[in-house]
């Protein structure tokens, strides 16, 4: 598998196409946060809406446009974090960021790998520093949206 194929694994291509959680939904949650993030170098954008019930993420949806990495990444993130809680998000966020900075090496931790699910497929992005921003876009949006929902 070439570096390029490692980066664009089938699961990424699928997420880019399907867009899990794509289409903003009217969340009925107690607290709602929304964040709009733009990657100014390429114009990629994501608008992400999160609904919280206490610590529980009970609604997660987004809209956006951009490269396959940015769109697939927010899709995979939505899949693994919908119906979890803030602690899970924090742990997954840190794990994903670590993966991004691992220069193409998978995480050596079964628990974190389980946690990241499809997001593990983004391992190849770590070899292309310019693309890390793309993969992080949705994650940053969720972090920001959660902060807003809690404030």
């Amino acid at each position: 598998m070439s570096d390029l194929e490692q980066m664009y694994q089938q699961v990424i291509m699928d997420h880019a196409k399907q867009g899990r959680g794509k289409g903003l939904v009217d969340a009925q949650s107690r607290r709602i946060g929304e964040s709009h993030q733009v990657n100014t170098t390429c114009g990629d954008e994501v608008t992400l809406r999160v609904g919280l019930n206490g610590e529980h993420i009970d609604s997660l949806s987004w809209d956006g446009a951009g490269c396959s990495i940015s769109q697939a990444s927010v899709s995979a993130m939505t899949e693994i974090l919908a119906d979890t809680d803030i602690d899970t998000f924090e742990e997954a966020f840190d794990a994903f960021r670590e993966l991004m900075h691992s220069r193409g090496e998978p995480l050596d931790d079964e628990h974190l790998e389980d946690l990241l699910g499809d997001a593990n497929a983004f391992v190849g992005v770590g070899k292309y520093p310019a693309r890390i921003k793309c993969a992080m876009l949705g994650w940053s949006a969720l972090r920001d949206a959660l902060a807003k929902a809690q404030s």
Partner: protein
């Protein structure tokens, strides 16, 4: 005629390998060009043997540095058909354009006094640009309008990005005080006919400012013959060092423009209360100048002159044609701008949008093959919006590119949609 295979030997970086040992195919010269050994060594030698403060002090190094600095100015001036005193060193072309815009803002705020009266603008006046400007030749004018209360207007472009020359008389009104336009688009590669715009601007008494960033590195340019009042270009795009550019100003125009930046080296007398300025070009050169970079830029000019700018232009015209024609023929690939300019000349640029594949993903496939191109909006949001896009993938050439490079770009483009399974 150019033999790029020989020229390539002059550029050390072209021998390096990129991703997974692939040879480098550098097609991002419109962003920044590579440097020949002659330029690298000129900078190196300056630091090793000459470096001293210029235009001040009387010791030998200061004298030799001043001579090198002023010789470099004369060389760059000659290259664009100007007099030495008409060339102001700047950090890059963006600063050169801002020097004019801020100078006008300063004149409008009273700096430079009566002598600078012709630069004063305000409500009711118009600043005219085109709809195909790089941000560097749009935002300074837009903000100058905001600061002074003047109005920004623009010359429209056609569906393929050509600057529309048919309605200049109505677009450039009697209220126009500045007309700023690009010589060559950094997205379509189209050359703007300068003459009709300058003629109309002169007719209404407006100052003309030419963004020559993509012309001076790629074709013969004679600024006196073009008749513009100001022009801007960068060293790094013409095989020179980073950190240097130039503002050209017609002698008569530079004479009264107030400085944009204040400090030592540009002033005649300073009291706590008041300052008088030196004549141009020094008036615009505050602080310690990019001396080694000026020397390097002059070395780049000499390198280009030895090849001959007519040859450079012809070579790049051919490469551009190969890339554009090849790309336009591909299924699902859209070329921004025309394949062939008709009455408009073109340089070695091809910007494309691949249907169903984001520009970042396109760039990644090319990068994997060792092909360096630019992805994104290339600092030109409005033009991409005009084409209904947010970004594109741009290949751009310089003297060291071969026909094989141009073909490699087209072949790689052809592989993009299959790779992503788009059809």
């Amino acid at each position: 005629m150019i033999t790029p295979e020989q020229i390539r030997d002059d550029f050390p970086i072209l021998a390096r390998e990129v991703r997974n040992g692939k040879p480098l195919i550098y097609l991002d010269s419109a962003a920044t060009a590579q440097k020949p050994t002659a330029v690298i060594e000129a900078v190196d030698a300056f630091y090793r043997t000459t470096n001293g403060a210029v235009q001040r002090g009387a010791h030998l190094l200061a004298e030799e540095s001043t001579a090198a600095f002023e010789d470099a100015r004369a060389t760059v001036a000659r290259f664009v058909g100007a007099q030495s005193g008409e060339i102001v060193w700047t950090e890059n072309a963006t600063y050169a354009l801002n020097t004019v815009a801020t100078g006008i803002a300063h004149a409008s705020a009273g700096i430079g006094g009566e002598a600078a009266a012709r630069y004063r603008i305000g409500p009711g006046d118009e600043i005219v640009v085109t709809a195909t400007e790089h941000h560097a030749n749009l935002v300074p004018w837009q903000q100058l309008a905001a600061i002074t209360g003047a109005t920004l207007t623009w010359i429209p472009i056609d569906g393929e990005g050509r600057v529309d020359l048919d309605n200049l008389d109505t677009v450039i009104t009697d209220r126009a005080k500045v007309v700023a336009f690009t010589h060559v688009s950094n997205v379509t590669g189209l050359v703007t006919p300068v003459e009709p715009i300058v003629a109309r601007a002169k007719h209404v008494g407006a100052i003309t400012v030419l963004d020559a960033c993509q012309s001076v590195p790629h074709m013969p340019v004679d600024l006196h013959a073009l008749g513009v009042d100001f022009a801007a270009f960068s060293g790094h795009k013409m095989l020179g060092p980073t950190g240097i550019g130039a503002l050209y100003g017609r002698a008569e125009m530079l004479e009264t423009l107030p400085p944009a930046v204040f400090g030592g080296g540009s002033v005649a007398t300073v009291t706590m209360e008041q300052t008088t300025w030196l004549d141009a070009p020094q008036r615009f050169e505050s602080g310690t100048q990019p001396v080694a970079q000026a020397v390097g830029m002059a070395a780049a000019v000499e390198y280009l002159e030895a090849i001959g700018m007519e040859n450079v232009a012809q070579h790049e015209r051919e490469l551009g044609a190969i890339m554009r024609a090849g790309a336009a023929e591909l299924e699902g690939v859209r070329l921004l701008g025309p394949v062939d300019g008709g009455d408009r000349d073109l340089i070695g640029i091809a910007a494309v949008a691949v249907e169903g594949v984001h520009t970042h993903d396109v760039g990644q496939v090319l990068d994997d093959r060792g092909i360096a191109v630019r992805v994104g909006h290339h600092c030109n949001h409005p033009l991409h919006k005009h084409f209904g896009l947010t970004g594109s993938t741009r290949a751009s050439t310089h003297v060291y590119n071969t026909e094989d490079d141009a073909r490699a770009f087209v072949e790689a483009l052809a592989a993009v949609r299959p790779f992503f399974g788009v059809s």
